[in-house]
Amino acid sequence: MSQSEHALKIMGVGKRFGVTNALSGISMNLARGEVLGLVGENGAGKSTLMKILSGAHARDEGDIEIDGVRVDIRQPADAQRAGIGIIYQELSLFPDLDAVENIFIGQEMSVGKYPNMTVPLRKKAMRDCAARILNDVLGVEIDLDCPVGSLALAQRQIIEIARALNSNANILIMDEPTEALEKAEREQLVRIINDLKQAGKSVIYVSHKLDEVLKICDRVVVLRDGACVADLPASSLDVNKVISLMIGGSLAKQFPTKSSPGADPVLKVEGISRRGAFENVSFELHEGEILGVAGLEGSGKSRLLRALFGDGASESGRILLKGRSTSISSISDGMNNRIAFLPAERKTEGIFAEHSVGWNLTASSLSKFGGVRLDRRAERIQCTNYIRKMGIKSEGPQQSIGRLSGGNQQKVLLARWLLTEPDVLLLEEPTRGIDIRAKADVYQLIASSAQAGKGIIVVSSDCTELLGLCHRILVMFEGEVVGILDAASASEEAIASLSIQRT
Amino acid sequence: MKRSFCNSLAAGLIVAVVVPGVAFAADYGAVFPGFLMDKVIPPTGKEAKPQVKTNRPLKVGFLPTAMDTYYQRVLAGVKEEIDRAGGPSTIQLLVQAPKSQSATDDQVRTMEAWINERVDAIAVALYNEGALEPLIRRATEAGIPVFLFNSPVADDPYYVSDIGYDQSDGGRAQAQWIVDNYKDKGEVKIAVLEGLPGPHTAQRMKGFNEVLSKYQNLKIVAKQPAGWVRAQGLTVTENMLTAHPDVDILVALYDEMALGGLQALKARKLNGKIAIVGYENMKEANDAIKVGDFAATVDTGAKEEGRNIIRAVEQFVMKGESVPKKIFVAPKTYDAKNIGTFDPADYIYVAKNTK
């Protein structure tokens, strides 16, 4: 390693898509052993910058130096050679291969001097090497033999880090690494980042979780509209300051005021169970109430939510809707009973990417638009209404949904379900992967739906969100309800301790 | 070991060539009516030897390239001849057909099964020259004589006898009919529907061109493939007529394609005006001649081919007498003048007791 001042130096990098400047004249440095936070709203240019560093996009102007040497990164192999490793938000592992195979993918150790595709692999050596990286460097125990698809998300992420380290990466770029992680797993990741820092690796940490960024990073770079608007030590910043830098003004308020729920229960659940998912769950949901559900991954919170919709329905117990006992055994049952469900995975479970905003918006309520022949005019009018009402930034119902930002896509999906005029709205991670302003909008929309008398259940792994948005929070552990907290008096710590252990 | 094998081969060759091929050639006419002596070629000596098998029923495998109108007619001849020879208690017929024309691998499987089962004789139709040679060799070495029918043959020394007709004679017969009827009629334009590229198309066209090329006024203006099938015969004829609306004669190397061509002519009210010369004398073609839609077709003696298969088996496997290497008959041309002489019973299997 040469002894230049900076591990990475970016000088005046710019990128255009057509006539749009996605990035213009970005300059910044990254010291060895430094953790740099990179924040900005969606569309601010974070992804573009990361894609340039990882070789997915080629830059149009500017220079990049690594260890004082100018490098030309045009494709992913260039980035790897330059010692840049990237850990993506959407994991890029091969689910059917085991940890060792994943860590060594593309750089397998093989027998003999002249490696080619057909010589035998040195499986033992690779296994030892993988074990060393995981156990000694990262300090974790991971089953090396099972397909990574069956491992927990946090473990898969660690395998990605191991893969980057194995390819001699000195600069690690982490894109929303904690987005889908539970608290304990997040803490493990923070520890790993600190270890990497001690070992002289540099980290670029990209996240929407500003409190976390401030806690983990040494320095924070804020991007807005493709330009660098701040480059400050983390110690000099707080969350509100960062937000105002990001949006170029100040945000009035993240969470809306809670209105008080009505007296009548819209949904009453009595001892419902589903084998291997959840057991003996009972609760009441009132009109206008927002009920949060917290719990670790695998605690049964998502399975419970989906069961109420009719997807993987409960096998025993009683469900009462507005006081009437109802059987919900399929999605059709759920929909016929005016229940709506917004799934967590926007891309794989939510949007029809090839199609327009309007198409996506009316997908679950087409029967409202004409009998045999669809009344496309009525459909378009209704869509235009909702686009305005929900504040969806688009060119109209005909625009392809793939061109919208995550936040606006989420609003379309929310509109899709509001259009069905549901009594009960089931929301799974409603703000995952969307930016601050969109989050505030989504919270506002949820609150006003509650105000309109709907019962709402929100499953989320973000405790701040649950506390800020919900009236009560139901905590689950290993398929059972271990507590129902009043949001006004609860704390993140209280939720966490309930989620981890029964009290 | 090897030397003695060679010696016996040589001896067999001499006997085969000198004795049956020449000395008794004249007698074959009595066994195989209409048999063409000039088509006979000398045996190679590698064939199975004549044998007298006494087991009854004799198991004979019949393996065409596919089951269609033509092979059904061959099969009718086979069955009638078996009836004459004593019925199923004398010869038990095993019939297998591959799922499509080009499924040679299906034929391989059937041949292997029959060799393992030790059938007494195999009659097989080849799709290509030289196809199945290893299997024919295996059967021969296992003592099972192999007879070919309706096959293009090249360099296969192991089969006992090739039964059928000379494909190029078929083409010659078509061309000869055109010559006989059109040679004095000034310039005559001919369009040809070929089959799929392959030996059948090549040999028929060879005979056809051989005869036709001697006459300057008879011109082939279009020649296109129609895959042996009716649907393509229809579309390709339509398309050729667009390019050459002034065609006088439509020749098809198979009646199926000719019948498709007839549909195209009918749609343009040209049936009877453009002369259709078919090939095979299928029942429908025969009917079409009677009403004037077809001008002529060539009968290649399918039923006789079937009869000759069983006659050869009888001679070779039951009586232990040799048979000629080629048992060919002459194709016969039918048109409006002689169609009345054709016996419609030739299309079907006529069971013996109803005769």
Binding site: V19, G43, D311, A363, K393, R403 | A231, T242, Q263
Partner: protein, 325 residues
């Protein structure tokens, strides 16, 4: 991501769901012009009538297959279904049944074959490729069992002949039937919930399930439609030839898929261009017609057809479609 910034710069696409068919249309026009130059007779009314009449058999089936493929499915059984149903119509008529009744029965059997395909795919959850391949082999086998390889002929009843050979004004009956079929399928695909749901399933099956679409019902309906259309094509072909051929429709499954894909419908599902499919089917007939008219050497035919398929797909990929995903 900078998509938001990009949006304002790109022109608004029309609220049109028919997908991009411009590539294939350009390819078709280029080839037609080229053939028109090469042979003056190519552009004659008679020849163009012939071409459309030749294209209909593949086109009708391809309309159904467009929905199947847009749903991320595949149907290999169409060629055999065509032959099987054609045979049923012919056989019933030969047994003295009324032609309309025979045709009705044939269409019913085609629909039934489609339903069986659909149930095996959607309910029993066997891979569509396997189900329809097995169906292709089984029906073809049954045809051989019944016909022993011999065509069924003698279908000279005029009220049956009219399906394949008749004219309405200047328009050949089979072409008219195809146009009506196109209109009906177009309506189904772009104007009804069935079409919307079909495309939704192809676009994102999991999302489709979670918006309450009964995926199994839609799949069965779409396979049934395709079976029905294969039977319709079978009736037209049988009437055109006045015979039911045991080998009819062999290889149609590939022609059909080629027509659909050339037309711009993605094998990955979610998008469908029915107009493109029609253009694809016509293109194949145009090319075969051109080869015959120009008297191209037999051995080159398959090479040319394969090359045209590739060219058409390339034209669609690079020429017409705007990328808005």
């Amino acid at each position: 991501m900078s998509t938001q910034a990009l949006d304002t710069k790109t022109p608004v696409s029309k609220f049109k769901l028919s997908g991009g068919a411009s590539g294939i249309v350009i390819a078709l026009i280029v080839i037609i012009v080229a053939l028109g130059v090469a042979s003056p007779r190519f552009l004659s009314v008679g020849n163009l009538t012939d071409i459309t009449r030749q294209a209909v058999f593949v086109a009708i089936i391809a309309f159904g297959a467009t929905l199947v493929i847009a749903m991320r499915g595949i149907d290999l059984s169409v060629g055999s279904t065509l032959a099987f149903t054609g045979l049923i119509a012919a056989d019933l008529m030969n047994r003295g049944f009324n032609p309309y009744l025979s045709v009705g029965a044939s269409l019913a059997v085609g629909t039934l074959i489609g339903i069986v395909n659909g149930v095996l795919v959607a309910k029993v959850k066997i891979a569509d490729f396997i189900v329809t391949m097995a169906m292709m082999v089984i029906t073809r086998g049954l045809i051989m069992v019944y016909t022993e390889g011999i065509p069924l002929t003698g279908l000279s009843n005029p009220s049956f002949q009219v399906f394949g050979q008749g004219f309405v004004g200047f328009v050949p009956m089979p072409v008219l039937v195809t146009i009506l079929t196109f209109a009906a399928v177009y309506f189904l695909l772009y104007q009804t919930r069935l079409g919307r749901y079909t495309l939704s399933i192809g676009s994102n099956p999991e999302a489709a399930r979670l918006v309450g679409i009964r995926i199994d019902h839609i799949k069965i309906a779409v396979y049934a439609l395709t079976g029905f259309l294969a039977a319709l094509s079978g009736v037209l072909l049988t009437s055109r030839l006045e015979a039911a051929m045991p080998e009819a429709g062999e290889g149609y499954e590939l022609d059909v898929i080629a027509a659909v894909v050339m037309g711009g419908t993605s094998l990955a599902g979610g998008r469908a261009s029915l107009l493109g499919t029609a253009a694809g089917a016509v293109l194949m007939a145009v090319v075969r017609n051109g080869l015959n008219i120009l008297n191209v050497n037999t051995f080159w035919h398959q090479v040319v057809i394969g090359a045209i398929i590739l060219l058409a797909v390339c034209a669609d990929k690079f020429g017409g479609r705007s990328r808005d995903t």
